[in-house]
């Protein structure tokens, strides 16, 4: 429905993150280096994290590295184990997807002992990291979201959170922060969904919330941390045939493209997986090339709405594969 957001599309302003080219620019031109890189995945069932891992793998292999990847199935304990095994295998560099530093203590200390640099894809740069690509990207969508709340006098919102996951936590934190700053008074219902079961749970929660917020009784919006919870929310909207509640979320996956086109998903953030993969790779190359100064870059990202979805898909066919 046209009531859905119409925020300005196109590349987001400076704070929200650099475009791929910019990002690449911030990294020293890559020197030819090789060796085995160990990638600690996050969870194969979480599509985005997965694409990050594969993208980084692709880039590194293209540039002559041997790459090991493993899936700790979202379990930090396993992540550390995998990491230690890479250390055992004397990889030249470690790349940790989505997990953040305070989940990788053992990994960090062992890598440190073995003088192996650890890079993080999906976390702001923290000390101890050799480099980080921050794809949690809280600002872009949250800013659009807040603006939408202001412009449309929204009275109540539902948030679908997953605090145990770092990106979700940072995004939610930024949201809370902005909400309080904005001085808006919107009533917020927070729902924590579990993983596994995230889709069904988000769906049920949304459905119940919608029942409690009948059409016309107020002006609503839904904030959803990532693609899966959004799928659930969309399903709930379809079930009860409501079109008055736009969803703001992260990740551009095949699954929510239709919802973007119908405007059910007012805005999502396209994180350029190949671009980020390249960023990860370039950080590693730079370090191994001798530039051992930890650097953090913002992931290349673009806000997607029903207005620019078609261009984006045209520009990035891999999304629909």
């Amino acid at each position: 429905s046209s009531s859905a957001a119409t925020p300005t599309p196109a590349a987001t302003p400076a704070p929200a993150g650099a475009t791929p080219t910019e990002a690449a620019a911030t990294i020293a031109a890559s020197v030819a280096v090789t060796g085995t890189v160990g990638i600690v995945g996050f969870d194969t069932t979480s599509p985005m994290d997965n694409t990050f891992a594969t993208a980084a793998k692709a880039y590194l292999e293209k540039t002559g590295f041997t790459v090991l990847t493993q899936d700790p199935k979202g379990d930090p304990g396993q992540a550390n184990t995998i990491c230690s095994q890479y250390v055992t295998r004397q990889v030249v560099a470690l790349l940790v997807i989505t997990f953040n530093k305070d989940q990788m203590a053992q990994c960090m200390s062992q890598a440190d002992a073995a003088k192996i640099p650890v890079f993080f894809s999906g976390s702001p740069l923290q000390d101890g990291m050799a480099g980080a690509v921050d794809n949690t990207a809280p600002p872009p969508i949250n800013d659009v979201f807040i603006k939408y709340l202001k412009d449309n006098g929204i009275t109540e919102i539902l948030s679908l959170d997953y605090s145990p996951g770092t990106p979700c936590r940072l995004r939610a934190a930024y949201r809370e922060d902005q909400l309080s700053k904005s001085g808006l008074n919107v009533k917020e219902s927070k729902h924590e969904f579990p993983i596994p079961g995230q889709v069904v749970d988000s769906q049920n929660a949304t459905a119940a919330w919608l029942a409690g917020h009948p059409q016309g009784a107020g002006k609503y919006a839904i904030w959803s941390c990532f693609a899966d919870s959004s799928s659930g929310a969309v399903a709930a909207l379809n079930q009860v045939g409501r079109s008055d509640v736009p969803i703001f979320t992260w990740d551009l996956t095949k699954a929510i493209v239709p919802a973007i086109k119908t405007g059910q998903v007012a805005a999502t953030l396209y994180l350029d997986a190949p671009g980020i993969g390249a960023q990860d790779g370039q950080l590693i190359q730079a370090w191994l090339g001798g530039d051992t100064k930890p650097q953090g870059v913002l992931a290349a990202s673009t806000i997607v709405t029903k207005d620019n979805i078609d261009q984006i898909l045209a520009a990035h066919p891999e999304v629909m594969q």
Binding site: E192, V199, V200, A205, A208, K254, P258
Partner: protein, 334 residues
């Protein structure tokens, strides 16, 4: 009941204290009372709870869980376990979605997904009924093998079929006579399973095997085939759940169905507190599913913080079951 044994039996006088009758009633209807109480409470506490839309919504929410839970009930009634329910649902969802995406016509895709269910059921029953492998291990193993297949097919990514087969959505989205389609499916399947378990030879044999496999075997019951049947039906229900889920969500979700194992177990065990003495039965399971659904829905309407949700689910489970367990013991004890 008729047929009281002659002489001797008659001479033994019956006496039952008031207290006992009360606890007897609680033991029998305790769990249902809990549900009723919940309902009453929310009707007052939660605005919009008692609306038609919401009541329908609750049923709708319960539908998928109910289908998988009732299937599981058969296996539990035969004194076995099935930990692969959730994985089966997920895999079926992925299969149906991917087939449609690859241009297979909807009916065939569905048939294939159901086939997946049957296949998994066969694996389980082969291991449990024929090789006599402990059911928990067997189904745990089969389940995680199913996850393997699932990821092999989907690469762990959601499989939207919106473009390939938009019609598929219509299977579960939308209403008939103002009631969501899923609810009809639920009712149909529940009724069938109820009749199957309580009124047919197979059902009685399932219960016999559940009660004492050895005795059943020596009475001429084909324990293996009976157990197998239970497992296959269970997996079949699981994949129906998975298919409907895919249709609701609009895509096959690699882990979408995994949650159903636990919800199904919780519901079935809640059900053991209903009416019959700690046995698994369809009606009980349905009550169990509804209790959980009502609780979830009501709390969400009130808008409690989510830790309350988790806590409540736990407490509800414990309360309902121990409530009637204890009551029964008291009513039995002198």
């Amino acid at each position: 009941m008729q047929n009281v044994a002659p002489a001797l039996g008659a001479r033994q006088t019956r006496i039952r204290s008031f207290g006992q009758s009360v606890t007897l009633v609680i033991g029998k209807y305790g769990a249902i009372m809990v549900l009723a109480l919940l309902f009453a409470w929310f009707s007052v506490a939660a605005k919009y709870f008692l609306t038609w839309d919401n009541s329908v919504q609750i049923l709708n929410q319960a539908a998928l869980s109910a289908i998988s839970a009732c299937g599981l009930t058969l296996v539990l009634a035969s004194n076995q376990f099935d930990l692969s329910v959730g994985n089966t649902a997920s895999l079926s969802g992925i299969v149906v979605a991917m087939l449609m995406i690859n241009g297979v016509p909807i009916p065939i895709a569905i048939a294939a997904a159901l086939g997946v269910g049957v296949a998994i059921g066969l694996c389980n029953s082969f291991l449990v009924a024929y090789l006599k492998v402990n059911a928990l291990v067997a189904t745990l193993g089969v389940g995680s093998a199913a996850v393997g297949v699932n990821y092999f097919l989907s690469g762990g990514a959601a499989q939207p079929f919106a473009f390939a087969a938009p019609a598929f959505n219509q299977i579960s989205i939308g209403n008939w006579l103002g009631i969501p389609k899923d609810v009809y499916y639920m009712v149909a399947i529940v009724v069938v399973l109820w009749a199957l378990l309580n009124r047919t030879v197979l059902g009685r044999n399932v219960q016999a095997v559940g009660g004492n496999a050895e005795a059943a075997r020596l009475a001429g019951v084909g324990t293996m085939s009976v157990t197998s049947a239970a497992f296959i039906i269970c997996s079949l229900c699981a994949s129906v759940t998975g298919i409907l889920l895919a249709s609701v969500v609009g895509s096959g979700q690699p882990t979408g169905g995994d949650g159903y194992t636990m919800t199904a177990f919780a519901a079935a065990f809640l059900g053991t507190a209903v009416l019959r003495e700690g046995q698994f039965h369809i009606v009980g399971t349905v009550v169990g599913v509804l209790t959980v659904a009502v609780g979830f829905n009501g709390l969400t309407l009130i808008g409690v913080p989510s830790y309350v949700q988790f806590f409540f689910q736990g407490v509800l489970l414990i309360a309902a079951v121990s409530f009637s367990t204890v009551a029964r013991q008291h009513s039995k004890a002198s």
